[in-house]
């Protein structure tokens, strides 16, 4: 699946990268020699600090007690590859195409924050990408992000659904915001498929005539109001079926650069209209989880466009970096362990600050679409 898709994405850039790797000679033959990553709750030991350009494979072993993630970042935290949701005791593999340059690897025990970072250098030669190639590359990069998120979304939704059907209220409550994190990060993709989004994520009262109130928020209501989920088995089953459908659709769709730019803005609009106000998770008050996920998803879309944007408007990229960092810092004040404080624990002044931060970020983000569309 993966190989086929990346090849059909057949951008000049992708081919170019592969060519670079092949031509580099010598060390590129050791593609199979995976770089071991030993991840714990406090450390991220990457066996090699450099590699030749081409296909690089990491094998990540989670030896800690928390679920972890592993990322390879290019400049500006552009995700080159990632593995989500590595449970304690498990090992997972990450295969990533890397051109010559400097990167960072990161383990994220507890799946939070900037993670434990290490430098990673890739040597070899690479030709600068053309403008069009950079935009094409953006869609490929983002597609890879969607794939990693949808994988984790299926896993976590399955766990959530299983807990609901088993009547395990506390476990289901704990899993609810986690599963939604992966959903909220890629929501603009989901919204392309109009009829599935309301079924999965519709809020009570939003249904049209004849539509049933289903999905995450239906189960949320039962979990947090009556605590009685004994009748929710069919709703849970349908949720998983719908999520699987949307995941399949998402992975067979490639967003255009313009859709990425608008998606990045729409995610912040979601925050501004739904999360700041506490409307989204009105029973569980886990809105800050969704808030963080929307911002992360927006940043992923912007990061994918970053190489193209740097050429068009370097000052805008600097502004975006500053504003994303500022939003993260403001949100970080409301962290509670590996998660977030409930929306109800925030004061009006807290929410005003977050609202200002989102507006400050969304304004420059609203300028990206025009840059991408202008083609210069």
């Amino acid at each position: 699946m993966r190989t086929a898709r990346i090849l059909t994405a057949a951008t000049a850039a992708a081919l170019l990268l592969a060519a670079c790797g092949d031509n580099d000679g010598g060390t590129t033959g050791d593609e199979d020699a995976a770089i071991a990553v030993s991840a714990s709750d406090t450390a991220c030991d990457v066996a090699e600090g450099e590699s030749a350009a081409g296909t690089v494979t990491f094998t990540i072993a989670n030896k800690g007690s928390k679920v972890t993630e592993f990322y390879v970042y290019a400049d500006g935290d552009r995700v080159m590859g990632e593995v989500e949701n590595i449970a304690p005791g498990l090992s997972r593999e990450l295969i990533v195409e890397l051109a010559a340059g400097t990167y960072e690897t990161a383990c994220k025990p507890g799946m939070i924050g900037k993670g434990i970072r290490n430098g990673f250098t890739v040597t070899g030669s690479s030709t600068p990408l053309t403008e069009d190639a950079k935009l094409a590359q953006a869609t490929t990069d983002y597609q890879r992000y969607v794939k990693s998120q949808t994988g984790a979304l299926i896993d976590k939704t399955t766990e959530f659904v299983t807990a609901v059907k088993a009547g395990k209220v506390d476990q289901a409550k704990a899993l609810f915001p986690v599963a939604r994190t992966y959903w909220e990060r890629i929501e603009p993709v989901a919204e392309i498929f109009g009829d599935l989004d309301p079924a999965i994520d519709g809020r009570e009262g939003d249904q049209e005539e004849g539509q049933e109130f289903t999905g995450f928020h239906r189960i949320e209501k039962d979990l947090w109001t009556t605590g009685d989920i004994s009748q929710d088995g069919p709703v849970a089953d349908k949720l998983l079926v719908d999520v699987q459908k949307i995941v399949d659709l998402a992975n067979s769709t490639t967003l255009s650069p313009l859709q990425l730019a608008n998606g990045a803005k729409e995610l912040l609009d979601e925050v501004a209209t739904g999360k700041i106000t506490g409307e989204e998770d009105r029973y569980s008050h886990t809105d800050l989880w969704d808030f963080a996920a929307n911002v992360e998803g927006s940043q992923a879309a912007v990061s994918a466009l970053r190489p193209a944007l740097e050429e068009k408007d370097a000052a805008l990229v600097t502004t975006l970096d500053e504003r994303f960092a500022s939003v993260e810092a403001a949100l970080e004040k409301h962290r509670d362990g590996d998660g977030w404080k409930p929306h109800t624990a925030l004061t009006e002044a807290d929410l005003k600050t977050l609202s200002d931060e989102i507006n400050a970020l969304a304004e420059p983000i609203s300028r990206i679409a025009a840059l991408v569309a202008s083609g210069k």
Binding site: L258, R323, K352, D356, N359, A360, L361, A362, E363, P364, S366, R367, A369, A370, V372, A373, S374
Partner: protein, 421 residues
């Protein structure tokens, strides 16, 4: 940016009130273009027909004959980055110069940009003329030191002593959430849509640098700032601002309104200090008050506005006897009992809906300009807050004090440059 280069120095009247003939570049979209009532010879002239020059020795919107509508907004500056603040003030200046000339806020305009980009003007003023729009900026104490005492922009030593926090007055019922602010912009226009459009576009341009702290809509000017205007009425039904400073009284303006050389830091010379007070009126109890008592409270006849010791509005009140009560508003506010202190008022009536108890949430948004609030507003309000018979019917719910610098003369100048340079 290009726009600012081509704006001439037209309309630099001594008081900035002259309607200027702006030199407009040929590629500027006039808001009136294609709009209703557009003239046959191109509608740009129409859009700018009732424009008041943005440029001048003084900021427009102070002695400018008071327009009928107000949108006032106070902002908190939410960055510590001086360059970002300056950048926003430059962008504001460019947009303000355009909008006061009846143009869109940005050079592409509300509908002239590419479909993928948000328009650089919000569009609700398309087809409307300049409508006498003035935009007046002021800087609050928080710009010099924030609430924690930090001098974020390295300008604490430029804070004028006259920009002192107002003291607490007896009976104040101030709500901090609708008081103060680091920067204010007063938009006045004949058309409320034009005033709202201007403020909205500035707020949009300020995202990330400023955050809206509070705002106020006003209708029905409650003061005349020119002898050419009739004295209007406040929501108590009385003529308000009969004894106001007026644009034509240039000697008095120099003495009471404009900051003089040597008064304080140079950047304020030629400027003025602004005090705002949102004064809620307890309309319902007032309306049950007998006419005679109402007139006693004000010290004026309700119909003519004449002092109770006279027969015509502009008769000087005779304060020697007791015909005008010791607690009458006209007596306590009179310059002769306040060491000669005069104010230039240009307040507006407001109605913010109702209050949930079945009462109108209404009153007066008081705006006063002066040379030094410590010698003018503060002593007058101290006396009023202690003795004014009107206090039974009013509550001061919001307060602000701002330093409004002089006007901008050159098109490459911008708001705040003399302060932040």
């Amino acid at each position: 940016m290009q726009r600012r280069k081509v704006i001439g120095l037209a309309g630099v009247g001594a008081a900035g009130v002259a309607a200027g003939a702006l030199a407009l570049s040929s590629d500027d979209p006039g808001r009136g273009a294609g709009g209703a009532g557009a003239g046959g010879d191109g509608s740009r002239g129409n859009a700018a027909a009732d424009a008041i020059s943005f440029w001048g020795d003084r900021q427009a919107g102070i002695v400018t004959p008071a327009q009928d509508r107000l949108h006032f907004m106070a902002f908190d500056v939410i960055t510590d980055d001086r360059a970002a603040l300056v950048g926003m003030l430059e962008a504001w200046t460019a947009a303000a110069a355009r909008m006061t000339a009846g143009l869109d806020a940005g050079t592409r305009g509300a509908v002239g940009g590419i479909p993928e980009a948000p328009p650089d003007d919000t569009g609700e003023a398309l087809g409307l003329p300049a409508s006498g729009l003035t935009l007046t900026i002021g800087f609050g104490p928080g710009l010099f030191r924030d609430a924690t005492g930090k001098d974020r922009f390295g300008i604490a030593d430029r804070r004028p002593e006259a920009l002192a926090d107002l003291p607490a007055f007896p009976g104040d019922a101030l709500d901090a959430k609708i008081s103060g602010g680091d920067i204010c912009v007063q938009a006045c226009a004949h058309d409320p849509q034009v005033a709202v459009h201007a403020i909205r576009n500035l707020a949009r341009l300020g995202m990330g640098v400023v955050s809206v702290r509070w705002s106020q809509l006003g209708f029905g000017r409650t003061s005349s700032t020119s002898t050419s205007q009739d004295t209007p009425r406040n929501l108590f039904g009385f003529k308000d601002g009969t004894a106001n400073l007026k644009a034509e009284e240039t000697a008095l303006l120099d003495e009471h309104l404009w900051v003089r050389d040597g008064d304080g830091p140079d950047w304020m010379t030629g400027g003025s200090y602004l005090v705002t007070r949102k004064i809620r009126m307890i309309i319902e109890t007032w309306d049950r008050t007998p006419l005679g008592e109402q007139e006693t409270i004000f010290g004026r006849a309700k119909g003519s506005g004449a002092p109770l010791t006279g027969t015509a509005e502009f008769d000087e009140p005779d304060l020697t006897g007791d015909r005008i009560d010791v607690g009458a508003h006209v007596r306590l506010a009179h310059p002769t009992v306040n060491g000669g202190a005069r104010l230039l008022r240009r307040g507006y009536n407001y109605v913010d809906g109702s209050d949930g108890l079945g009462r109108l949430d209404a009153g007066l948004f008081f705006i006063a300009y002066q040379r030094d609030p410590r010698k003018q507003f503060v002593p007058v309000q101290t006396r009023l807050s202690r003795h004014d018979l009107l206090n039974e019917y009013i509550r001061h719910v919001s307060s602000g004090v701002f330093a409004c610098p002089p006007g901008l003369l050159a098109a490459d100048d911008h708001w705040g440059r003399s302060l932040l340079a």
